[in-house]
């Protein structure tokens, strides 16, 4: 403690003094050596301390006594006799974020994996770098964290007994918008799904996530409740799931799951591992070796090459070609080319309703069998009725008639349930189905067009523009710029599918990756299962 900054007081003939630091936190007793041992020393020192104005607490008295007791004759005494109680400043409010916890990150990973595989997720760290979560994706109702209140401060006391004011703690000034609810106890609850942004004292959940680079190891897989824009591309084997997905660069062999739409503006090179599950419209520059299920329409710019797609809406491309692969479409289809001059195996199933066709195919024979059985029982009943009318019926006949009546009644109940279901299903299928294939430039030879149980292989190419649609008899017909060319059956090599032979008759399954259909000639043996699987695409 520098002597020149200290205040001195209580000088008793200059031999006993009290020095207080300028901050009033410490008071030191200074006693000259010649006073030590003086019988009046105690009184003199007490007088000096009292004169200094410091608070004479028990602690101060004890320290003075101790100092005098320990003083050595012939030496100046210097001892701290009073210390202030410093103020406790308390702590300001803060936010404790649950979203940074390993548990929340595990929850994110489990959400991402829930629709992709069946592997259970837990709170363990990710086993794969693909699973690392780099954005904080939240869902409505998630507890994001809590704002902790400030802890109160305590004033101190200086050596004179006066209060030392403690600075008041500050509330955490977290600001947020309606996307986050702050409850009375400070808990922060997500009000919408999206990505959580935290910027200084502001937090919000954004429905739009913008990734300025690639979806790769720097981002991990993405599972987002809102929309995503990816400024560059999506790397191999990554998974992106969101509402709307817009990718400006190339999508490689990735898994894209869009609840709404997917825009593959830079194309999608699936390399036989890429897949797309799109709720509504898939818009792409091109698709190459992609497997997918598209709930709405497909719009593409250049070509669809060797893809395995089910399109529940329509397909439209002004200049694009469908080359190779298998495409199933429910709605209208307008493209520039189908097939290739090299004879790439291209199958296009039109007017197919994969959501309902398999169910209708299952239900139809059931209803037919029920009706046939009903007719059979009715014939037998009429015969016995005739015997009863002619009074020639035996008791056995009468018992048989009772049994028939019961069986018919049971059958009627089944028919009353099954028949309207089938009729409703067929009505829905008819409403969904659009058989309208418009090809602007060329329908190449060897391409296969399928409709219902019929398959048609194009023998010689047709120059566009051509239109394939249904005539009044329900036959596929072809019309070109000159006019109607006749039924498709006459123009192509036709084959028939035996759907009873198919092992795959489930609904809403993606089509199997199988070779395109063959025909009943020596080189191309019939393979009804792949055809059927393709035709119903489910």
């Amino acid at each position: 403690m520098p002597a020149d900054t200290a205040s001195q007081s209580g000088d008793v003939a200059g031999r006993a003094r009290v020095r207080v630091t300028p901050d009033k936190l410490t008071a030191k007793l200074l006693v000259d050596a010649d006073l030590i041992g003086d019988p009046h020393a105690g009184a003199l020192i007490q007088g000096a301390v009292a004169e200094s104005g410091i608070e004479l607490t028990e602690d101060v008295r004890d320290r003075m006594d101790l100092a005098l007791f320990e003083a050595k004759p012939g030496e100046n005494l210097e001892a701290v006799i009073a210390e202030a109680t410093p103020a406790k400043p308390g702590s300001s409010g803060r936010v404790e974020w649950d979203v940074d916890s390993p548990e929340f990150q595990a929850l994110q990973r489990s959400r991402l994996n829930s629709d992709i595989d069946d592997e259970p997720s837990d709170a363990e760290p990710p086993k794969s770098h693909y699973d690392r979560v780099h954005f904080i994706m939240v869902e409505p109702g998630d507890v994001l964290g809590r704002v902790l209140p400030p802890e109160p401060a305590e004033d101190g006391r200086d050596v004179f007994g006066e209060a030392i004011d403690a600075p008041e703690p500050i509330e955490h000034a977290l600001t947020h918008d309606d996307s986050i609810l702050r409850k009375a106890d400070g808990t922060l609850i997500a009000q919408q799904g999206g990505v959580l942004h935290r910027n200084g004292d502001h937090a919000c959940i954004d429905l739009k996530l913008e990734v300025s680079d690639y979806i790769d190891f720097s981002t991990g897989n993405i599972d987002f409740a809102g929309d995503i824009t990816v400024k560059r591309g999506v790397r191999d084997r990554f998974t992106v799931r969101a509402n709307n997905i817009e990718v400006h660069g190339l999508i490689e062999a990735a898994t894209m799951i869009a609840r709404d739409g997917l825009s593959a503006l830079g194309g999608f090179a699936g390399r036989e591992r890429g897949s797309a599950r799109v709720g509504r419209v898939l818009e792409a520059k091109y698709l190459d070796n992609v497997e997918g299920d598209i709930g709405g329409g497909l719009e593409f710019e250049r070509e669809i090459i060797n893809c395995d797609l089910v399109v529940h809406g329509s397909i439209r491309s002004n200049n694009g070609a469908i080359v190779g692969g298998r495409i199933v479409v429910t709605g209208a289809c307008r493209v520039a080319q189908v097939g290739s001059s090299g004879g790439a195996k291209t199958v296009l199933a039109i007017g197919c309703v994969p959501r309902f066709d398999p169910l209708a195919r299952k239900l139809r024979p059931i209803v037919e069998n029920l009706l046939a059985e009903r007719r059979h029982l009715n014939d037998e009943k009429e015969q016995i009725d005739e015997l009863i009318t002619a009074a020639r019926a035996t008791p056995t006949d009468r018992e048989r008639l009772t049994a028939l009546s019961f069986e018919m009644s049971s059958l009627d109940r089944l028919i009353q349930r099954a028949q309207p279901s089938l009729e409703g299903l067929e009505k829905t299928i008819a409403e969904c189905r659009v058989v309208d294939l418009m090809i602007e430039r060329r329908l190449h030879g060897d391409a296969v067009i399928m409709f219902g149980d019929e398959q048609y292989r194009v023998l010689d190419a047709f120059k566009g523009p051509i239109r394939i649609a249904l005539n009044d008899e329900g036959q596929l017909t072809l019309e070109d710029a000159i006019g109607p060319r006749g039924t498709f059956e006459d123009l192509c090599e036709a084959g028939h599918l035996d759907r009873r032979a198919t092992p795959r008759d489930e609904i809403d399954l993606p089509p199997e990756r199988v070779e395109p259909p063959m025909f009943d000639d020596a080189e191309n043996a019939p393979t009804s299962s792949p055809m059927e699987a393709h035709a119903c695409a489910s």
Binding site: P395, E399, L401, L404, S405, F406, S410
Partner: protein, 123 residues
Amino acid sequence: MRVMLIDDSKTMRNIQKGILTQLGHTEIEEAADGLDALSKVKAFDPELLLVDWNMPNMDGLTFVKQYRSQGGVSPIIMVTTEAEKIRVVEAIKAGVNNYVVKPFTPDVLSGRIDETLSRAAAA
């Protein structure tokens, strides 16, 4: 409710059982003829009996008489091909409460069962 079905035809018993099940009666005992039924009634103590007339070993009419003579009071429906009036009267005299002539439809049998049970409840 405990219901006993007495008919030599398993098909007929199944039909009657199906109707009774639809009506909500699931506690059902079956017997193939009158003798079989007599051996079971004490233990099962039915609250309703559906009895065929023509059966081997012991016909339905004999069963009804013996059941009543043993103090059986539960309602009995005769389900039979015997449609002549004199036969119906004979059955009713023996203690039958209601009568269903084969062939019958499920609706007719369930109607008769309801009717018989209502009458028995009112009595």
